[in-house]
Symmetry: D2
Subunit: 494 residues, 4 copies
């Protein structure tokens, strides 16, 4: 009765979450002087959830003791009960969302904010970014007798503060930061004081807002919006702010350098409704779409975004080109974590769990697919095939970033260089590989025009664009000194 029964019985699972993107690793948030500090922080982190979905934590300060709650999973799953929020007493709180934490309780230990009882009292810290000399620093500290509990490079900063010879907290903090290199946007808490810092290059975002008589720090402005806080200003590259009863004090403890904000925040990481560096992210993305349309025009019947991240650029492309914007792919938002792959007959299940071709609409049409980036190329290949299977006559792929040829070491989760399709292939090869009739990426200069620059200044680029160019503005200390992988802890915890 069952002619298919002889198929391989090997079961495989398919994850709909493997979506072939670079991923921002963290978002940070803090509130000073509000009776609902923890609840506001939970909301702020919810608005920053796109910057990290795997774990979340909040530390609050009630003036007497600090309170902490950290959990694997989303903010909405872990910080939505009165029980949890009521425990996080106090009018100061900082919080953190994290992209990825493997393992069991090791993972728990890596959830930020990190907290320690130091000689001057409690200290909590949350970090967006990545230190490029964390391993080197850690080795020095362990030699001095420091015991690391996490594998997070943020703990390096904590130990440097704990062992600093300075007496005042601010001096210890600055002393600690002067010894590290890398990208960091930090929020921190001591008794009744909140700190915000951006590294000298200002690679990752950090903004200051106001709510009533209180203050807010957040990775993006969308997190101010959700709590009704007003945007005050960006924290500047190399700036440390200390917020206390005396208001906001600003320090510039580092030698000044040319800022290198991450241009990929505009392309993909930030939420479209955020404003960074006076630019609305949605409007930048539409501009990129328009530039793309001008740079690589092709005749077609419709412009189809790869949902959801391709939508703004597709709108810009359609508006510029005059070709209709249409939903040729429908996205499901009901995601589990894995699914059983039922048999080899079902091609591209992973992509189908999230996307489905709008078959009867696509059939017989010439399609321009707009997506934000191609990393490994796995999804692009499947999406193009899905369009062809649905009967598309032509499939043209347009990408709103330049080819991603280099990994990021500044707080973005990227594959190794040899996994990057653009590192291994020319654009023509890529087009052929993914099966598109044509493939085009925005040019470097097109991208810089879209963010309002005349063109990329190749002497001293206005942004960090290392993933497109390999120009790494901050020294890769661990990598250069010690290229091999290294186990940060000998412990496997379950």
């Amino acid at each position: 009765m069952d002619p298919l029964a002889q198929h391989s019985s090997e079961t495989r699972t398919v994850s709909p979450l493997d979506d072939d993107h670079f991923h921002d690793e963290c978002g940070v948030f803090g509130v000073f002087n509000h009776p609902d500090a923890a609840a506001l922080t939970a909301l702020g982190l919810h608005a920053l959830q796109h910057r990290g979905q795997e774990a979340a934590g909040i530390v609050s300060d009630d003036g007497d003791i600090f309170h902490s709650h950290r959990a694997l999973g989303s903010v909405g799953d872990n910080f939505n009960t009165e029980n949890v929020i009521d425990r996080l007493k106090g009018s100061l709180a900082i919080g953190h969302v994290r992209y990825s934490t493997a393992g069991g309780s090791t993972a728990m230990r890596n959830i930020q904010p990190l907290y320690a009882d130091l000689v001057f009292g409690g200290f909590a810290i949350a970090h967006n970014g990545n230190l490029t000399n964390a391993r080197t620093c850690r080795r020095d500290l362990v030699e001095r007798g420091c015991i690391f509990q996490s594998t997070s490079d943020t703990e390096t900063i904590l130990h440097r503060i704990a062992t600093s010879r300075h007496r005042k907290v601010i001096d210890r903090f600055i002393d600690a930061l002067r010894g590290v290199t890398g990208a960091y946007s930090l929020v921190a808490l001591t008794r009744q004081k909140m700190y915000g810092v951006r590294d000298p290059f200002g690679v990752r975002p950090l903004v200051l807002g106001r709510i009533g008589d209180g203050w807010v720090l957040a990775s993006e402005t969308c997190a101010l919006d959700i709590i009704g806080a007003e945007f005050e200003r960006d924290i500047e590259p190399g700036e440390m702010v200390i917020i206390s009863e005396d208001g906001v004090k600003s320090y510039k403890p580092f030698a000044p350098v040319e800022p290198k904000f991450c241009i990929f925040e505009y392309i993909y990481f930030a939420r479209p409704d955020s404003v960074i560096g006076d630019r609305n992210v949605y409007s930048v993305r539409k501009q990129i779409g328009a530039e793309l349309a001008r740079e690589s025009h092709v005749d077609a019947d419709m412009v189809v975004p790869v949902p959801d991240s391709g939508v703004p650029a597709a709108i810009g492309y359609a508006a510029e080109s005059g070709i209709p914007f249409d939903l040729g792919i429908i996205r499901s938002h009901y995601m589990g974590r894995t699914f059983i792959q039922p048999s080899d007959k079902i091609r591209n299940l992973g992509v189908k769990l999230k996307h489905n071709a709008n078959r009867s609409w696509v059939k017989g049409k010439r399609i321009i697919l707009v997506d934000d980036s191609i990393v490994r190329g796995t999804t692009s290949l499947k999406i193009v095939e899905m369009m062809r299977n649905a009967g598309a006559k032509e499939v043209h792929m347009r990408i709103s970033s330049p080819p991603t040829t280099h990994p990021c070491y500044y707080g973005i989760d990227t594959p190794n260089k040899d996994k990057l399709m653009a590192h291994r292939m020319s654009v023509e090869e890529m087009a052929k590989h993914i099966g598109a009739d044509s493939l085009a990426f925005i040019t470097h200069d097109g991208l810089y025009r879209a963010v309002g620059e005349e063109k990329r200044n190749s002497e001293c680029p206005q942004f960090c664009d290392a993933c497109f160019t390999g120009d790494y503005p901050i020294p890769l200390v661990d990598k250069d000194g010690d290229p091999g992988p290294e186990q940060l802890t000998l412990l496997s915890e379950g």
Copy 2:
């Protein structure tokens, strides 16, 4: 230090899920003759998740015994492990997703497919729709000594089959269905046979597909797409198909009536990539948007969809009107179930958890908001206010359904009539209430034109549109005979 501390300490929680829509109550799926029947059913139900997110169940038949797994929560959370899928042995399986099930284990008992050992063997059934004489039937059956385990009206059909005096399964099934009235699209399973039935009016959808040598039944074609099945045809109103080793046999056991397919499936319930009655749902929605633009034009700077359900109509509206389509509202897809409402200062938190104004883009603009329906009006009011707070100069609301003035009794979860804004107010009053500069709904005829009819046939409407008109095509037996609410079971289970 804290001037806000005197605010009420009463904590409230806010649900981002209360989204002011009618909700489809169920989706059904079935596979006949495939070695991975249960895995395919899980995938099919995943594609139907928009029809019900609260509970899911699958019953399979391995030719010897039946296997069942039912759980509260999404398909992806409950049917994603080898452990679960491997237990659901057999090449036949049916499944069900359900919109809402309150309570603890009572809820568990209500999760479908229902299963019973009847005198002829095992029988499993899953139901999309609602019986209008379920209560009356139930009373009769209890008097005859039947013991109900659930409060689901589907169990009525089960007991009618169990107690039918006919001998053959098909005769019992038909006998049972002839005694019930209402809307139903059913899938059922007996040993090595699968059944599909649509009520005489064909209110809810049901389609037949093919996969390899096997057959598939599904509420919508998008569930065929995910498993790579080919669409064969709609099950017809009043048709029963029996799928066995001998192929698909079709029966028409009911007196023929004019079909009354639910027109709201086109407006909101079905997924845009599905094809129902030869119409692509996305294309109908674009048509509605275009009709709306023609019927109620207004000058503006951009057309903004209320995401995600307003998007296709907004695209149609924008294309027809020539006004740019733009994302003025950004939706978050990281939803928890509730959040703490931190204080009265934060207005409209519920809506903000899901939507945020794209402030800097909206500021100073004249906006046309496009949404699919207004039920209670709660969300519309907040969305309009959100646009105004973001600085919109004008806010015009356009709705891609006629005013919803009546509840549904055919398988859609709707509020009582007096909760329906359109029942209590004129369109002008509604516009004023939600604070819009103008408000317009698609007309009845405009809607019928969008689905391809010349106009609504008021003698005998081509669709069920009772929620817009109060013309209920199927008798409301329980309601008319016995208007008050009634407790279906004396048991409260926890």
Copy 3:
């Protein structure tokens, strides 16, 4: 470095719970007219936990609706929170503990009390015992169209009540019971009435107690003690009591027969502090020990109980023989459900998880081990070996029951006949098999003397002793008519 590394890598798990005993399958409890009815029922079930540890349930009646909570696991794990107890509103409640329920939600459905909405209102029932014609009854009922939800034979009674042609509840209940054969001690609930019934032979215990103005039904008196209720009397064999506002009414609806109380309740099932049939269970067990000492004296240095069930008989044996009572085996009460068997080098791990020889005390001594029964013999073999390994010079085994040669069909979980060691071997063979220097069981007459009879009346035994004799007082309808195993439901639920 590791000379043992070549051992088999096959991992096995060992359960400390497989303790080679017959097991009582259930305990029942009920409270009428007490404001804390559910809390008292939870306590009563806790005191009856030795009668069933796998699942527990309570149904209460608040005069308006019934409330139910049922769970896998112990009473203390599931009915210990205010949350659960507060939900079980009302001054009437009945409860049940259950020995064994395999599977997932099937298991859930089998947890008692069973509840149904019948034509006269809600009805809840809990059962200790086993029907011997349940399968036959069930087949009849299914043919009439009844749908069974559980595999429990208790549901048979429920359907017989539901479909009875009588009008009054009591008449339906009696009608239902007249059609079933087997052993049953039942408690049941309808709106503001509580019922207690023992089958005509009175195989399983059931007692009536008083608390304040309220009444209590319980399997054993120890459950009255825990709530401070006073023992009133045993419910008589064949008696039905109905407790209502009008007090306790007694009915004798069955033809009278000679009672056959289960004599094994005295040997092992009941708690030693219970009083059944005017006999204190502890005192009966000491008497059995004394009889054993008289019947099968042997010289030794100490009498060692196999803890805990062998303790009372060992005390009786020691007192009668003058040989000191000593703890030669120490029992651990911290039990998990399974443990990994680390290697073949570790013999008898299962028994060691629960028992350890008191080595230095046992060494060089002649030991009389006293245990209550030998079922498969697996534990006895290991215990004897454990004593020998600890250096015991002689090991004599004395058993406070006659050899168990036959399975029980009246509510006790027993292995198949061919698994019973005493069915397959003579006493001498058994002694040799378990490695004891001598082995003796109490004689039938010795046992009857210990419970106060002169001797066993072989014409008409004063108790049910079928497991020792094969004299089954109640017909084994299902077994005789239909000897093979049969699947009660075609469903496997997970």
Copy 4:
């Protein structure tokens, strides 16, 4: 209908676990060179479960990395799956059980073994005992920049090792221990080496065993028995053993002092089947019972143990006095953690959840109750009342320890001094308070005789008996220097 309904609606819960005993705080175990090291460690910890039920942990070393699993709850609940045991790879493992850990993830951090990556590699440590200068040490270490993650005083030793200026691990370990005072029996692990240490006074037990070619360390010999290991010898007070490929090396790094083994281990903490200092614990307890019988004879009908800890002394008392040993109290072993206290009418619910009078046996009898100790007196009062309510004619209480007048600072959980009944009352007052007809404790000399000494040497007691005498052999540094309570961390974690 309900005359009791007006009772106070205030609900209370009652814990059956509050059993008025001193509690040992920990047990330790370790295996060197066995392929199933983790499985054996789980079994060993299971046998030591009486030394701590709240949390358990194991760290193993596979020669490459260390593996850790730590959990709240019993060993049997957390280390019984292949999944967990298989992860704990390696032929070396150490483990720990812990009596009490309050709170959520703070508690998690306090579960031992503690682990750290130190400059020389991984280091794991588990501790039975208590440091009396932990707070003072910790303050010094924090000033030097150490970051504590737990509130456990064991972490003090870890940081002292991490920051020691010595190079070799053994020198660091000894350096660290020389700076701490208190009671400790430690097991520790570095790469392929296992360490065992007892403090100079040898307050807590630690034994060495052999299994095949491997070695075992354990708090008690009962943990050797369960895995079939052979007892080799006690680790001596002040001894450190290092077990490696080269075998067991012994060091004596501390200045020699007179040993002070905790005499209460013989009375209550250790398991009766263990052998400590060449004395079988069961036999010591019987001796204490016999001494008690000689010292404080009283005429009675039976000797009744308070189960389970009173049993061995009661057997000794009965044997010496010639009065029959009988079970007048039955203990339930099915414990939940809390129960709802249903109403004020039910006296002594807490004690009844665990104990029930064997009413019909006790009635009219003169009873000698034997228990091991009286701490607060709460249980004794209820047990005496329970005997009286059951109809006992006389109730004489005999206690197998001297009056406990002082708290322990050496690793035993004891109440504050003013909670100790014997600190506040004379023996006569205690007898009156608990309602006993007479009350007697073993004398100090009687106790010393029972353990084989002629009498207590009051100049230099042969054991630590500080809880009976106030003679604390080890300086109470934190207590004397800094009497007030102090918060060890400013963090409250949830």
